[in-house]
């Protein structure tokens, strides 16, 4: 048991040291960073939180920027799967893009692409599908 603890102690020292000096080192308390919210705002897009998203379903065009697999398993009601490589969506409604959670950047990338293509009203549901699901929101499934 002592040697097991010694191995763990060695690993802890090496891990902490490597993390401190590595340019890829993580924050101990916020390993995934601060989320994409600030980046969404800087990109000129509108950040939408969970409470607002509940009121927007049905009124806007919702684009899902996750993988096709995740989309098939569950998505916001009325959402359409879309990637920046795909054909541009219709311009008849405001658009809200989302992906998995606040740390996922796919929705941000999609929003930037749409804005660059001239869409006037593009928002990003920053909290993402996971927040919607955890809050008990209704979902569509294949």
């Amino acid at each position: 048991m002592k040697r097991v603890l010694l191995l763990l102690a060695i690993a802890a020292v090496l891990g902490a040291t490597a993390n401190a000096i590595s340019p890829r080192g993580l924050s101990w308390t916020r390993p995934l960073g601060r989320g994409v919210g600030p980046q969404v705002t800087r990109a000129g897009l509108v950040p939408v939180d969970l409470a607002s998203m509940k009121n927007l379903v049905g009124a806007v065009r919702i684009l899902d920027a996750r993988t096709k697999e995740d989309f098939a398993i569950g998505r916001l009601p009325g959402a359409v799967w879309w990637t920046p490589d795909g054909p541009l969506p219709p311009r008849d409604k405001p658009i809200v893009v989302y992906c998995a959670n606040e740390f996922c950047e796919y929705a941000l990338e999609a929003g930037v692409k749409l804005k660059a293509a001239g869409y006037p009203d593009v928002a990003v549901f920053v909290d993402g599908y996971e927040a919607w699901w955890n809050a008990g929101g209704a979902v569509d499934q294949d």
Binding site: V4, L8, L14, A18, N19, G25
Partner: protein, 148 residues
């Protein structure tokens, strides 16, 4: 010791060395994988993502050091059992990726493949540890017999 018994620690060591190094190279990807499993609270994600890969590497190297082989086997077996339980829960929740090998090839990181792989590795480790505890005792000394 048979060839298989000599081979098992090497196989285990190589698997964990590769897994640990790939996670060390891209700790953010590993942290994201842990978060996606939705098992650990966010407060634990950072320490696990930072330290766990190094535990894998240190234990893998320790398999080759006399006197540390058994502690390393115990450590790796414990980790395997824990990972397998976590993977099982993650799979039930619909997780498809485990991040077991960092951002490496998607087949290595598929949760169902990882679960099967872990079961095999646990069996190998258990065999290696069991073999050590069932070795026959040394024969009695000839000097212990009665005098003539």
């Amino acid at each position: 010791m048979t060839r298989i018994e000599r081979l098992i620690p090497i196989v285990l060591g190589l698997v964990f060395l590769a897994a640990g190094i790939l996670k060390i190279v891209d700790p953010l990807a590993f942290a994201v994988s842990i978060a996606r499993l939705r098992i650990a609270p966010m407060a634990v994600v950072g320490p696990v993502a930072i330290l766990l890969p190094w535990i894998e590497v240190v234990a893998a190297v320790a398999l080759l050091i006399p006197g540390y082989r058994d502690p390393a086997l115990k450590l790796l077996t414990g980790m395997l059992v824990l990972f397998t339980a976590i993977l099982g829960i993650g799979l039930l929740r619909g997780a498809s990726s485990c991040g077991c090998f960092g951002k490496a090839d998607s087949l290595l990181n598929r949760a169902d493949v990882a679960l099967a792989r872990n079961v095999v590795l646990i069996a190998l480790a258990a065999f290696a540890m069991r073999r050590k505890t069932t070795c026959p005792a040394a024969p009695a000394s000839p000097a212990s017999g009665t005098g003539r």
